[in-house]
């Protein structure tokens, strides 16, 4: 096998020999030595190029991470983005335990973020149907955590003032959710399109017949979230973001009396907002009037 390789190398090494003429047969040991040396040199160069190539391609993964203007909305309990990306082992156990399949894994277009979980709140928000933030429980590396280790940064405005009370658990002996930091905060991004601001009501399927998202309706079944399209609404004043919010005192409908004496309405996000994104998912206008700003701290 070696001999074959060497003669191959020898014929490669003599590209100038006229076509049709056989390459010189290398059969004595002393003549072979330089050929072997050359073959080794080729192999070395080839290896160096390959190392450079593979590392270069791997480092391309930094581009999407560095150029991302906004990070993704991460599952509850996620560490700060940088720590999150370094500690996530990309196994998807959080995906597997989520009862509403809110958590998805990123693809290679996200570079170093490949295989890292995120939530697209508009498509399927986390509604805490699991009651216990099971994704945190499932995480083997502490990327999602109930309490951060002391060495890790806690930004001002991220910790929740009190443990959030889950509306679905209000009558339970322990109604709170084991979550100490928010994952973002909701914001009325387009007040002009908000139905409540316009004083309008809403009736029908919140997101149309084709929407695949699920939501837990305690009145229907506390343990089984149902498709939003199977639960039409009838509201004289649209307040879906307020009523469907799974957290108590995280959002309310602010009522003001205008100069002409008419009542004005506007959903107002409160400090207990954890950033789950249910309001963004349920908002019936397109694009959503209320959105979650991922990783944003609370500011009054």
């Amino acid at each position: 096998m070696n001999d074959k390789r060497e003669t191959e190398a020898a014929s490669e090494a003599a590209p100038l020999s006229p076509a049709g003429e056989a390459a010189p047969v290398v059969n004595n040991r002393r003549a072979r030595a330089p050929v072997r040396k050359q073959a080794n040199r080729r192999k070395f160069i080839r290896s160096a190029v390959m190392i450079g190539g593979v590392l270069g391609l791997a480092m391309l993964g930094y581009i999407p991470v560095a150029s991302a203007r906004k990070s993704r909305l991460r599952p509850p309990g996620a560490l700060e983005e940088r720590d999150f990306l370094s500690s996530c082992i990309k196994c998807g156990q959080c995906v597997q335990v989520c009862p509403v399949a809110a958590i998805k894994l990123d693809d290679i277009d996200q570079g170093f973020g490949v295989g890292v979980p995120y939530i697209d709140a508009r498509e399927q928000a986390c509604d805490f149907s699991c009651d216990a933030v099971q994704c945190i429980l499932a995480c083997p590396t502490g990327s999602l955590t109930y309490t951060k280790p002391p060495a890790l940064e806690i930004r001002a405005g991220m910790p929740l003032a009190q443990a959030p009370v889950l509306k679905a658990k209000e009558n339970d002996p322990e109604p709170t959710l084991n979550l100490s930091e928010r994952i973002g905060v909701a914001r009325l991004a387009h007040p002009e399109s908000c139905l409540a601001v316009q004083g309008k009501g809403f009736s029908g399927q919140a997101r149309g017949a084709g929407f695949r998202g699920h939501l837990r309706y305690v009145a229907v079944d506390r343990w089984k979230p149902v498709p939003v399209r199977d639960h039409p609404y009838q509201r004289d004043l649209c307040d879906l973001c307020v009523t469907e919010c799974p957290i108590r005192d995280a959002i309310h409908m602010k009522e003001t009396i205008a100069a002409d004496g008419s009542k004005q309405y506007r959903p107002e996000v409160l400090e207990q907002c954890v950033g789950c994104g249910v309001c963004e998912m349920i908002c019936p206008v397109e694009p959503a009037a209320i959105v979650v700003d991922q990783r944003q701290p609370w500011s009054a």
Partner: protein, 320 residues
């Protein structure tokens, strides 16, 4: 070859001829210096009685496919036996964490929680016993794909349409060190981004992704340019498991007295440098365990016409 020497070979060194050969081995070597006709006759006899078998390959493929399907079905059918992906999972509740992924995360994040430690330790013990690189050939989904594409590569080589370009085996050690350093310095698990093992495992469980394009690219590279290039010259997972299984009792053993030095084993082997011992005159002892870089895939055991390569469990085989 001493065990230390075998570990050196795993990191990329070229195998060397033995300095000391035991008297028994010497005798066998000299006995094999019979007349050509005699030797050919015995060889032919062995050939005639050869059982063409794919026993170990079939067992291995079954285990590999079942292991990966168990991941898939645990999620799809919600049977919850093996939840997660190859990088990290839970087997009926017990944490299992891939050693190379764990290493990358520990180096990048520099903080180890209890579950991460438990899962890593469990898997460490498992593969230290079963033979580190057994992970590669018995579990890794990329190994199976690469094995199928290797068949295509060899077909094209035999038709002289492509040729195999070898790289220096030391490149894998370089990659291992560089990826470890990159994790420490950058704080990102850089290798995970391009790991076909992780990408394939996640694709099998969570559905197809764009990342599969990268895996396909690797396979094409292996078919047209360099045989089994990723597993042979790049993958740090293989080296991590090789190190972990360096003193594993489960290994393939070479028996000098049964060998006709035809070299079929070296032709099918993913890591032929571990089979340097089968070259005529190289064996220093009557039996030689194959080095830690061996993936225990059993292709050599299947292909050997005279039973010179067998699976062996150190200590146990003698008892049985």
């Amino acid at each position: 070859m001493s065990h230390l020497e075998r570990i050196r070979v795993m990191f990329g060194a070229a195998p060397e001829k033995p300095a000391v050969v035991t008297p028994e081995a010497k005798q066998v070597h000299s006995l094999k210096r019979m007349t050509k006709a005699d030797f050919e006759a015995i060889k032919q006899h062995a050939r005639d009685h050869e059982l063409v078998t794919h026993k170990w390959r079939n067992r291995r493929w079954a285990v590999l496919i079942l292991a990966n399907l168990l991941f898939t079905f645990s999620f799809w059918l919600d049977i919850q036996v093996l939840e997660g992906a190859l990088t990290a999972s839970r087997f009926v509740g017990f944490h299992l964490i891939d050693l190379n992924s764990a290493l990358q995360v520990m180096l990048a994040h520099k903080h180890i929680i209890v579950n991460l430690f438990i899962g890593t330790a469990t898997v460490f013990v498992l593969w230290a016993v079963l033979g580190g690189r057994s992970f590669c050939s018995w579990v890794c989904p990329y190994h199976l794909l690469a094995e199928w594409f290797e068949w295509l590569h060899l077909k094209l080589v035999s038709k002289k349409l492509v040729s195999d370009h070898e790289f220096h085996r030391g490149t894998r050690t370089v990659f291992w060190v560089v990826f470890a350093l990159l994790a420490v310095v950058s704080g990102y698990t850089v290798f995970e981004t391009i790991s076909p093992t992780g990408i394939l495992s996640r694709a099998l469980i969570y559905g197809p992704s764009l990342a599969l394009g990268w895996v396909l690219l690797l396979l094409v590279f292996e078919v047209v340019y360099s045989r089994r290039a990723w597993c042979r010259y790049v993958c740090p997972i293989g080296l991590t498991y090789g190190i972990v299984g360096a003193v594993s009792p489960v290994r393939v053993e070479y028996r000098l007295d049964k060998c006709f030095h035809e070299g079929d084993c070296r032709k099918v082997c993913l890591v032929p440098h571990v089979l340097d011992v089968v070259i005529k005159g190289r064996a220093a002892e009557m039996t030689t365990p194959i080095g830690p870089d061996c993936t225990r895939c059993g292709l050599c055991v299947d292909v050997c016409p005279s039973g010179a390569l067998v699976f062996d469990v150190k200590g146990l085989s003698k008892l049985l």
